[in-house]
């Protein structure tokens, strides 16, 4: 088997047994990237040379160094809204097109400590606002399974890079489904941990109370390995949790007997695509055969989640994006008469349409006189969604749903209709609203396009999510399939 098809775990074992050198690994992935990247465009910044240099240093360390990190020599792609020191971090926005940060995100620090190799920064919808990467200010990433289709978003670049075998694993961020939806579209494993499990320091904020860094991989076990590295309290992020982090790999390879899995009827409406419904319910049955118990549950408030989300997320965004004013860093318009005009021209030209739309939505929702009717009301809905999930979790250990209402859509199909675009996150958004951990794993194909299964866990119970996902993966082995590029 070619090296680029191997999992993180396999590559790691080959390196540690000194069968291959990090530079050989990186070279293999660079070759693969040179071959297929022109077709899919997953990277905004590809760092092939730097990665190779880094790998060569690690070749020497492999001989000399005893205590090598858990990710020693593993190439990893990072979504371009995660801050990397001395490496351009654009958020796929013109306003940060040439922004080179002088600091690292905490997750990058943690990966570095474990000796990973950074391959590059992947494409996304501008500031993570979107579901297709079509809102990237630079280009649209293509779905490796069908180059006429979107990879999903906002972490479309990371999802595509893992799907196409440019890297074994990648990091993304998920605010309303931005990891799980593209994972589903690209046929890879996408994991969003509990809010607070992974530090947000250095994740460029879109909606601070919803944003969470997570992982892409082609196996659940790789997710567990990566999660072991990036999880845990960070003094730089007040919202990060000091809950103890279990060894997530302990949940791999366990049986799932007696685990209660809830099937919320609201996530299987009449309007849901028949094939998707069938694939997901069959998946549930497979798990039942493995000893899990299926329980029908109801989550009625979740139907308001999109509406409430599109108040809360833009409200926070309108404030989070105020710092891009052209004063200290990033793009600044050159022709202005006064301060007011500098601001307005800079922001008008620096931001794309979707970002502006959300800034306006959020500004409106927070305005005095509207705050109670919109923001406060939405927060109440959010609290109800959370309580409803907690009520359900008294009866079940996990909740199973489709990740998306349908498979990847065509490029350009939904760009004229933002509401339609927003609805592609209908099954993922409520999870962010409640701050829960959830995974999307490949569950089959519809018209040769991947379909994702979503498993939602209790707060900080990532372990059970990984356990069941791993079991499911091992029954079906969808993860061993690669798109034909």
């Amino acid at each position: 088997m070619e090296l680029w098809k191997k999992s993180l775990k396999e590559i790691s074992e080959l390196i540690n047994s000194k069968e291959i050198k990090p530079s050989e690994v990186v070279e293999a992935f660079i070759r693969r990237t040179e071959e297929v990247e022109p077709k899919i465009n997953s990277y905004i910044t590809f760092l092939g040379e730097k990665a190779l240099e880094d790998a060569r240093k690690k070749d020497e360390e492999l001989v000399k160094k005893e205590n090598r990190g858990k990710l020693f020599g593993i190439p990893i792609a990072i979504k371009d809204n995660i801050i990397t020191k001395d490496i351009k971090t654009t958020c796929a926005s013109k306003i940060l097109e040439n922004f080179i940060p002088p600091y690292n995100a905490t997750v990058i620090e943690r990966l570095e400590k474990e000796d990973f190799i950074l391959t590059g920064k992947t494409n996304l919808d501008e500031f993570a606002m979107g579901s297709s990467t079509e809102n990237s200010a630079f280009f649209t990433t293509k779905n490796p399974w069908d180059l006429e289709r979107v990879p999903g978003g906002s972490s479309g670049g990371s999802a595509a890079s893992v799907s196409a075998g440019l890297v074994p694993v990648a990091l993304g961020s998920d605010t309303g489904g931005s990891i799980r939806q593209p994972a589903s579209f690209c046929g890879v494993v996408g994991f969003k941990p509990t809010y607070g499990r992974v530090s947000r320091y250095g994740l460029v904020a879109f909606a601070s109370s919803l944003d969470q860094i997570g992982t892409f991989s082609r196996s659940v076990e790789d997710t567990a390995i990566l999660m072991n590295v990036i999880s845990g309290k960070d003094e730089k992020d007040s919202t990060s949790s000091d809950r103890e982090v279990p060894d997530f790999t302990n949940f791999i390879g366990k049986d799932i007997k007696g685990i209660k899995i809830g099937i919320p009827k609201e996530f299987f409406p009449e309007t849901l695509d028949k094939e998707i419904k069938e694939i997901i319910l069959n998946s549930a049955k497979q798990l039942e055969k493995e000893g899990a118990e299926l329980v029908e549950i109801s989550l009625p408030t979740s139907k308001y989640s999109i509406e409430a989300y599109y108040i809360i997320a833009p409200s926070e965004a309108s404030s989070n994006l105020a710092r891009y004013d052209g004063v200290r860093y990033g793009y600044r318009a050159e022709d202005y008469k006064d301060l007011e005009e500098m601001y307005s021209k800079t922001r008008d030209r620096g931001f794309g349409a979707e970002v502006k739309r959300r800034i306006m939505l959020g500004t409106y929702a927070l305005s005095s006189g509207y705050y109670d009717a919109y923001y406060l009301k939405a927060q109440k809905v959010r609290a109800l969604i959370y309580l409803e999930f907690m009520e359900a979790f008294k009866k079940v250990d996990l909740i199973l749903t489709p990740t998306t209402p349908d498979v990847a859509f065509k490029i350009g199909e939904k760009t004229d209709n933002p509401i339609e675009m927003y609805l592609s996150d209908i099954f993922t958004v409520s999870v962010n609203m409640a701050g829960l951990p959830a995974i999307s794993i490949p569950a089959g194909f519809k018209n040769s396009l991947p379909v994702g299964l979503q498993l939602i866990g209790k707060p900080f119970d990532e372990g059970t999510v990984l356990q069941v996902a791993d079991r499911f993966e091992k029954i079906n082995n969808y993860n061993l399939k690669f798109p034909n590029l």
Partner: protein, 474 residues
């Protein structure tokens, strides 16, 4: 119609923490521009604030010293507006759930105590500074993120003097508890004034005017006094006050409109999702309460009770932390005459220091000197008159009073034999005056006393001189 001014103050106090409110950058006055900065206080993408625990402790301390109720739950909120020296495009502040509420400060006007209620105290971060020079504006973000307390009074103040006394007391309390130097010149204490007039006896509020950026206590008083007269003139003409923001011109002593182009801002406050709500336990509040030093009012009360000082003297001494410290140090060295020590400090030392513009902590006359001086008077070693001379010398040389008395031979003569000898000599020299005295001119006694003092260079104990003169002359 008689009008009554209704005045409320919004005061910003910079806390004297070593580091900023939400990052670990140094707080430093006068550093090279943009040197005490980091991704957090520069508002770089992805950076996150973390609350400085010391700042919280200081703010709780201040809340308790201002008799506020400290809320067990308070929330940081974002105040959104654009300005070049506001790096994030919002200021982290507190809005509907402030740290503390419902406090007060007592001030004394003409011997009468007035209570000025405090509406709320909340924490927030400072902005940077914008310096306009010619064609360009320069931004210095060293100050951005410095921890502030905003202290909002109820509209309980009725005069310019009241406002000044409130501010002085507030500054004094901040210094006592050591949370801020509260130096207005250095911008560590900033004050905005809200002022309106209403017919006396009415409980409705008139249209208010805000006066911003006043930079000394004296100017606050002046600005208010001017503004009261201005508003009176307008109202007496039957015209209306325009709600606006005004500035104070130090040169003319007048306030003027700050182009009321500044429309009503909508700051779009909402809870900051990057910071968790601040929860403070009752135990922690109690712990801080227990650690508070004695505050000016308590101190004054103790001085009156324990040392039998007058209310006036006690108030003067506690009005400055260093002054009170000075006094207490002196009486710890000589405890028998606190009242005399207070008198020496208030009547001699303070004036002299003021005249030479020296802080009491740098005084050439140390607390031990005052103590010694009073002890010398009490023991009859020197007279009060000589003591003043000694004091002047101590002020000049910083030598101890005993040393000076010794050196200059200023010790008072109380030895009766010695004094009797001198008196006899003087009486011998002035037979005419003795005759006059015996003929009934008792006033001439003063002449003899004067002669004795002259002969002894003022060192003779006047009590003894009088006694012996009376004995001899009958």
């Amino acid at each position: 119609m008689e009008f009554e001014p209704v005045i409320g103050l919004e005061v910003h106090v910079q806390m004297s923490t070593n580091t900023k409110c939400f990052c670990s950058c140094k707080v430093e006055f006068g550093a090279e521009p943009n040197t005490n900065v980091c991704p957090v206080c520069l508002g770089m993408p992805g950076s996150l604030p973390v609350l400085n625990k010391k700042a919280l402790e200081y703010a709780i301390k201040a809340s308790l010293a201002l008799n506020c109720k400290v809320n067990e739950l308070s929330v940081f909120a974002r105040k959104n507006y654009f300005y070049p020296d506001l790096p994030k495009g919002y200021q982290i502040s507190q809005y509907d759930k402030p740290l503390a509420t419902d406090g007060y400060i007592d001030i004394k006007i003409d011997g009468k105590t007035e209570r000025i209620r405090i509406h709320r105290l909340h924490m927030e971060e400072d902005a940077g500074k914008t310096i306009h020079k010619g064609k360009y504006s320069y931004v210095d973000l060293n100050r951005a993120g410095t921890p502030l307390m905003e202290i909002v009074s109820e509209p309980d103040i009725r005069s310019g003097l009241g406002a000044r006394l409130y501010l002085e007391k507030l500054r004094n309390i901040m210094r006592y508890i050591g949370v801020s130097n509260a130096d207005m010149e250095k911008g560590q204490l900033r004050c905005d004034v809200n002022i309106s007039l209403r017919p006396k006896g009415s409980d409705k509020l008139g249209t208010k005017v805000e006066i911003k950026n006043i930079n000394s206590f004296r100017f606050v008083q002046k600005a208010i006094e001017y503004e009261i007269e201005r508003q009176k003139r307008i109202l007496k003409k039957g015209e209306k006050i325009i709600q606006e923001t005004r500035l104070f011109d130090e040169k003319t002593g007048k306030t003027f409109s700050m182009r009321s182009k500044e429309e009503a801002h909508d700051y779009r406050y909402f809870p900051d999702p990057d910071l968790i709500p601040v929860r403070i336990t009752k135990e922690y509040i109690q712990e801080i309460k227990n650690s508070l030093p004695e505050l000016p009012d308590e101190k004054a009360e103790r001085y009156i009770k324990e040392y039998k000082l007058t209310e006036y003297d006690a108030d003067v001494l506690v009005a400055d932390k260093e002054r009170a410290k000075y006094f207490e140090e002196a009486i710890s060295i000589y405890s028998k005459s606190p009242k005399s020590i207070a008198n020496w400090i208030i009547n001699e030392l303070l004036g002299k220091l003021n005249e030479k513009n020296i802080a009491i902590s740098d005084s050439p006359v140390k607390p031990s000197h005052i103590a010694e001086l009073v002890e010398l008077i009490d023991s009859g070693d020197i007279s009060t008159k000589i003591a003043k001379e000694v004091f002047e010398e101590v002020f000049k040389t910083s030598k101890s009073p005993k040393e000076i008395v010794e050196e200059k031979g200023l010790k008072q003569v109380s030895d009766e034999g010695e004094i009797r000898k001198i008196i006899e000599e003087i009486l011998d020299k002035h037979p005419k005056e003795v005759e006059k005295y015996k003929a009934g001119n008792k006033k001439i006694m003063g002449f003899f006393v004067g002669q004795v003092m002259k002969a002894t260079k003022g060192k003779a104990n006047p009590k003894v001189v009088n006694k012996i003169l009376n004995e001899i002359l009958g």
